[in-house]
């Protein structure tokens, strides 16, 4: 006993030569920042710089007839608030985004619940379900354009065969029909991604928890309502935000299917900006709409990122 307590005084203490100044974690942050430099450079070049340029242009009037942009202050923003066509684009965007987000998530969730139960051909069906995801959007637009075509379209021929209609219908030339078509196409494109999210979420649902609920007397409905959906809540948050951001940005299938028409029935903000910039060459106004549009995307994007960060912790 006594010789043990004596030993520290016998050998003087010194600090190990391997010790790091600033503690064991020192230097880790610096290394992290180093790793971020390439990504930050790319972000600056392709995102930040063009955005700042657009922000600058939104304070100018700059059309095809003008030699150089002319500073007009907040004039463009005032025009947006009073221009009924642009306000119309906001409303159209709101309708498009709500419908596509709602249907993508409900169908994605339903499909994930079906595919989560083992059955024959499950793996194959899962694989097939991912097809729209890997398909280029333009091909998807072409495919759905063919389905909705007023003369030889699949929908018309099926409806005629079943006697639901007497004459072929030009779906894309009515306001509601065109909106339905772009919503269906985008939903079809988004379902696989959301399904994948939900399947991933379902796979880490504790099986014994569900069994415990069954022993407690829960049928399918209560298992879904009381256990599966609460478990998927974080995933649901992420998909809602992801859906909103993605659908706010969406351009290609709408452009290919309807070109924003008939008249302005499917002119969402992305189409509006494109038209202003590259058809009317009203660059200043296009930039302004773009800035407002980005401003609407930012809050949901922020919530999405925050949700991701919180889950990473």
């Amino acid at each position: 006993m006594s010789d043990l307590s004596a030993s520290p005084t016998a050998a003087p203490r010194r600090i190990s030569p391997h010790a790091k100044r600033g503690g064991v974690k020192a230097g880790e942050n610096r290394f992290g920042i180093l790793l971020l430099i390439p990504a930050l450079t790319a972000f600056g070049l392709v995102v930040l710089f063009p955005f700042l340029e657009a922000l600058r242009l939104s304070f100018y009037e700059f059309t095809i007839q003008m030699m150089s942009p002319e500073f007009v202050g907040l004039d463009n923003f005032r025009r947006i608030l009073t221009d009924p066509t642009i306000i119309g684009s906001f409303v159209t965007t709101l309708i498009f985004v709500s419908l596509t987000t709602f249907f993508s998530i409900t169908i994605g969730l339903g499909w994930a619940l079906i595919l989560n139960h083992p059955f024959r051909g499950q793996a194959m069906l899962r694989g097939l379900s991912l097809l729209p995801w890997v398909m280029p959007a333009v091909v998807a637009a072409f495919l759905w354009g063919w389905i909705f075509n007023s003369r030889y379209g699949l929908l018309n021929s099926l409806a005629l065969d079943f006697g639901l209609i007497e004459y072929p219908v030009a779906y894309l030339s009515t306001n509601a029909g065109a909106m339905a078509a772009v919503v269906i196409t985008k939903t079809w494109l988004s379902v696989p991604l959301f399904m994948a999210f939900f399947i991933a979420g379902l796979q880490n649902l504790d099986r014994e928890q569900i069994e415990a609920a069954r022993v407690d007397g829960a049928g399918n409905f209560h298992v879904l309502k009381d256990h599966v959906l609460p478990h998927l809540r974080p995933v649901m948050m992420v998909t809602v935000v992801l859906g909103i951001v993605g659908n706010l940005q969406h351009f290609d299938t709408i452009w290919a299917l309807t070109g924003g028409g008939p008249v302005r029935a499917t002119t969402v903000l992305s189409i509006e900006v494109y038209r202003r910039a590259f058809e009317q060459w009203d660059i200043g106004m296009a930039a302004t709409v773009g800035v407002v549009w980005v401003a609407t995307i930012l809050p949901p994007a922020y919530f999405y990122l925050r949700q991701l960060m919180m889950r990473a912790e």
Partner: protein, 359 residues
């Protein structure tokens, strides 16, 4: 009244046979423990009783009704899972009241029953917490509470103590004993720990490789194991086995002998528990060996003695503290009445001296 009856039950997963020919009757109010090594099918049997797995063949009867195809939500059986399986997004109170809520029990009755169960388990202060804010032992109590609240016909427990540390396990074991007296419900308790089985059970069901080896009270299994497996499984430390032959009215070992005139010629092995061996040569059986190691527990000293007739060192329990030099030769002795005898298949052979004792 026979409460739960299992007849000719089999379970296969594809071509793998997990349970074979299970026959078992569990009386109302009995505390039954299924015990056996990991992978012997205990959980599978429990899952079939509560309806989480299909029965491949055979019958499952509760109060004389065949319940093979009754979904678990309709069986009135409560189960405590090994992982506790608490509902993570519900408070402790909601976890415990969930089954009652599904059964459309009035709110104030749910509240009073939850409170009552919480008082029994001493978790009243935890009722508003979420499961992740609880320690392992507290989760365990909540899981038990969730089962008690339902006042079920049958309780099932799947290795409920295996995730707790040793000290807590002893405490909870005591609480199970108290719970059993207090509730008086039929309870089926699964464990791989034979000490838990011995201390809690009215009736132990020893399982091995998908079969029931023996059913009986703890003491009857300890005194009269029907085969070598049960003999080796029940009792701690384990029973010692010595290769033996019966010739000319005596049992012979390489390193000793046992005076036993009525043994069977089929005898190939005898079993003797550590607590029935002692150092010396005054008993009916004597073997010679060499001490290889000792364990000192204070209350007892366990000596491990190398004997020519056993592959593993023979374990001897010596009451109190004894120091014996390692490597020394010694002779071990025992009484014929404490000897278990087995044939080549491992089936127990009758011991006449023991019979006479018991009578």
């Amino acid at each position: 009244m026979a409460d739960l009856k299992i007849e000719g039950l089999n379970k296969r997963y594809g071509s793998v046979s997990v349970l074979r020919d299970i026959d078992l009757t569990i009386e109302h109010g009995e505390f039954v423990v299924f015990v056996g090594p990991s992978g012997c099918g205990k959980s599978t049997l429990l899952r079939m009783i509560c309806g989480l797995d299909d029965v491949t063949s055979g019958q499952l009867m509760l109060a004389n009704e065949v319940i093979n195809d009754v979904p678990s939500s309709k069986r009135g059986i409560a189960m405590v899972f090994q992982s506790y399986a608490l509902y993570p997004h519900m408070s402790v109170a909601d976890n415990m009241g969930y089954a009652l809520k599904l059964a459309k029990t009035p709110k104030d009755e749910i509240e009073s029953r939850v409170r009552n169960a919480a008082e029994i388990l001493q978790i009243v202060p935890l009722l508003e917490r979420k499961p992740r804010q609880l320690s392992g032992g507290q989760r365990q109590r909540v899981a038990i509470g969730r089962a008690i609240v339902r006042e079920p016909d049958v309780f099932l427990f799947d290795e409920p103590l295996s995730n707790l540390d040793a000290a807590l396990r002893v405490d909870m074991r005591m609480e199970f004993a108290r719970l059993k007296d207090r509730l008086g419900t039929t309870m089926i308790y699964v464990t791989h720990d034979q000490v838990e089985a011995m201390t809690l059970a009215d009736k132990i069901v020893v399982m091995h490789d998908g079969r029931i080896e023996q059913v009986g009270s703890p003491i009857s299994l300890y005194n009269n194991p029907v085969n070598r497996f049960v003999a080796g499984f029940i009792g701690s430390p384990k029973m010692n086995f010595l290769a033996a032959r019966f010739t000319d009215g005596a049992v012979a070992f390489q390193s000793g002998h046992l005076h036993m005139p009525h043994a069977s010629a089929r005898l190939t092995e005898i079993g003797i528990r550590p607590e029935h061996l002692r150092v010396g040569d005054d008993g009916e059986g004597v073997v010679q060996g060499r001490l290889v190691a000792t364990e000192h527990l204070g209350s007892d000293t366990f000596a491990m003695v190398e004997v020519a007739d056993s592959e593993r060192p023979v374990m001897v329990r010596i009451p109190g503290e004894r120091r014996i030099p390692h490597g020394s030769s010694l002779s071990l002795t025992f009484d014929a009445a404490n000897v278990h005898m087995f044939d080549a298949e491992g089936t127990a052979l009758p011991n006449e001296t023991r019979r006479a004792d018991a009578a």
